[in-house]
């Protein structure tokens, strides 16, 4: 299954109402997807402070996936728009300080789209496999 012999670890912050439910649906529909993600459920994607993303990356996570409701469909009506701003900031700062921004991904996955969830996870895992391991994970000094 591995392309270059290593299994990445991906931290996924999923919103309770859409993306996590989609993950649930993917499970109950018995859709197979890459086992590389570690899911952390949050009540809303806007709960994801940019610090969470940076902490995951600096601690050695190979990728960070943030999943929320599709724009306009947020359970709290506008949380995901704030989430987008926060992710934009985290990515900009990561780039500014020379971290790899490709390791951060923000995706909108509605509750009813289990297959899409599986697709996004597969796609992201493949991409991270291509990029390789996160060097911050090996560095003692960080």
């Amino acid at each position: 299954m591995t392309d270059n012999g290593y299994e990445p670890k991906i931290v996924a912050f999923l919103c309770n109402w859409c993306t996590f439910t989609a993950a649930d649906l993917a499970g109950t529909s018995r859709i197979k997807y890459q086992p590389n993600i570690r899911i952390i459920k949050v009540m809303c994607s806007s709960r994801v402070d940019p610090v969470f993303i940076l902490k995951a990356l600096l601690d050695g996570a190979d990728g960070v996936l943030i999943g929320g409701c599709a724009p306009g469909d947020c359970h709290y009506s506008k949380g995901n728009f704030y989430a987008r701003r926060k992710v934009a900031l985290a990515k900009t700062l990561a780039q500014n300080m020379g971290l790899d921004t490709d390791r951060i991904r923000l995706s909108w996955i509605p509750a009813s789209e289990g297959p899409k969830f599986a697709g996004v996870v597969n796609e992201f895992t493949e991409k991270i496999k291509k990029i390789g391991a996160n060097p911050a994970g090996q560095e003692v000094f960080i």
Binding site: P50, L58, K78, F81, R85, G98, E123, V140, F141
Partner: protein, 378 residues
């Protein structure tokens, strides 16, 4: 405003006379401004009435001991001032006051914000260990001539918002050539107050000043960009960043003195990051060792995500750092890019909403990752 009251004579004396005049005719009840203690060897902030003004006030300190915005917040955080209070601020302090007002940490009721063309400030440590009288003199001269004094702080020498624009009353010094200064109204409140001063009929055109301000601004912006570019080169990547930060002693002084870091409990002081030995050992296992205290880089980068948008580049953090880390330069570099995405400038306008408090439906599409492949139908 294209006109201001011209006042002849030395700046220090003139400003004191102007403030005293406002207090005497009851246009203001008190002032919050920098001052010196009786022996004259320390700069601090004072809340003064008419008599106190004579005793302690020293309107233009050559160093920034505590950030003025913090003082204003201290005074008005819980409710607005019921005394009409004039506040004399550096331009960066003024911007921080405006940011804090947006963050509901400052109540602007009854405050009259007064600011001036700032020539910068000396590093606190060098001032305290150096010849203070000499530095005081050097600062006073450069305040009049508006030339950079020698030994300015790094952030000050690349500051491109050096005028007090945005204040109720602006003290114009650029172009005055040590002969005097302008009092320029910035808001209706400021205009009304200026009408109550003695010299209210001596309005003079500001054309010569405006041209010089424009020229200096262009020159400073250029210098700012090139300096920040080269600094960014030197800290790019975790390795270079850690070289700069490695002397950090984790005292969190930088966040304590920061006017924008107002949280009562900081995430980085909380126990959220304080995991047990189990977790620490596992982390150490993963990378054949662990630097202690851990999460040093996270602290600094985390602060950048929390407050870089509102960072006014005042340099208080760098003054407070016991390990001589160029913290304020780091933050200025980070802030340059983070505020660009939201087209935001801290302290520019009180009506400009904080980027985290608003959004547009159609924006920042390049930060979303669209799902590119058609998933299989099952």
């Amino acid at each position: 405003m294209d006109k201001g009251i011209w006042i002849d004579g030395p700046v220090n004396k003139g400003v004191m006379k102007f403030l005293k005049g406002l207090l005497e005719n009851n246009a203001m009840d008190a002032v919050l401004m920098p001052g010196k203690n009786k022996t004259g060897d320390s700069n601090a902030w004072f809340f003064l009435d008419r008599d106190g003004l004579d005793e302690s006030a020293s309107p233009f300190p050559p160093v920034m001991t505590t950030q003025g915005a913090k003082m204003v917040s201290y005074l008005t955080k819980k409710n607005g001032s019921w005394k009409k209070t004039g506040v004399l601020l550096r331009p960066c302090e003024l911007r921080a006051v405006i940011e804090l007002a947006k963050l509901k940490q400052v109540d602007l009721t009854n405050l009259v914000l007064i600011s001036y063309d700032c020539p910068g400030a000396f590093p606190l440590k060098e001032y305290l260990s150096g010849n203070q009288q000499e530095l005081d003199m050097a600062f006073e001269t450069s305040l009049g001539t508006q030339t950079d004094p020698e030994g300015l702080r790094n952030v000050c020498s690349i500051c491109s918002n050096f005028t007090g624009s945005g204040a109720d009353i602006e003290i114009g010094l650029i172009g005055a050539d040590s002969k005097g200064f302008w009092l320029i109204p910035g808001t209706e409140q400021g205009e009304e107050l200026l009408k109550k001063t003695e010299e209210s009929n001596s309005f003079k055109s500001l054309e010569s000043r405006d041209k010089l301000v424009e020229a200096k601004s262009v020159q400073r912006k250029e210098k700012r960009e090139t300096t920040l570019d080269s600094f960014q080169q030197s800290v790019n990547g975790p390795e270079n960043l850690m070289t700069v930060l490695s002397s950090c002693i984790n005292c969190h002084n930088c966040s304590r003195v920061c006017p924008i870091c107002f949280c009562r409990e900081c995430y980085f002081d909380s126990r959220a990051l304080n995991s047990g030995a189990d977790e620490m050992l596992r982390r150490a296992d993963r990378k054949q060792g662990l630097r202690l205290l851990p999460d040093l880089l996270l602290f600094h980068m985390g602060r950048m995500t929390h407050m870089s948008i509102s960072c006014v580049s005042c340099g208080a953090c760098e003054d407070a750092c016991p390990a001589d880390i160029p913290v304020s330069m780091l933050f200025t570099v980070a802030a340059r890019d983070t505020r660009k995405i939201f087209d935001y400038e801290p302290g520019r306008d009180i009506d400009e909403a904080l980027p985290y408090s608003v959004f547009n439906f159609e924006e920042l599409k390049n930060f979303e990752a669209p799902y590119t492949r058609q998933y299989s139908k099952q």
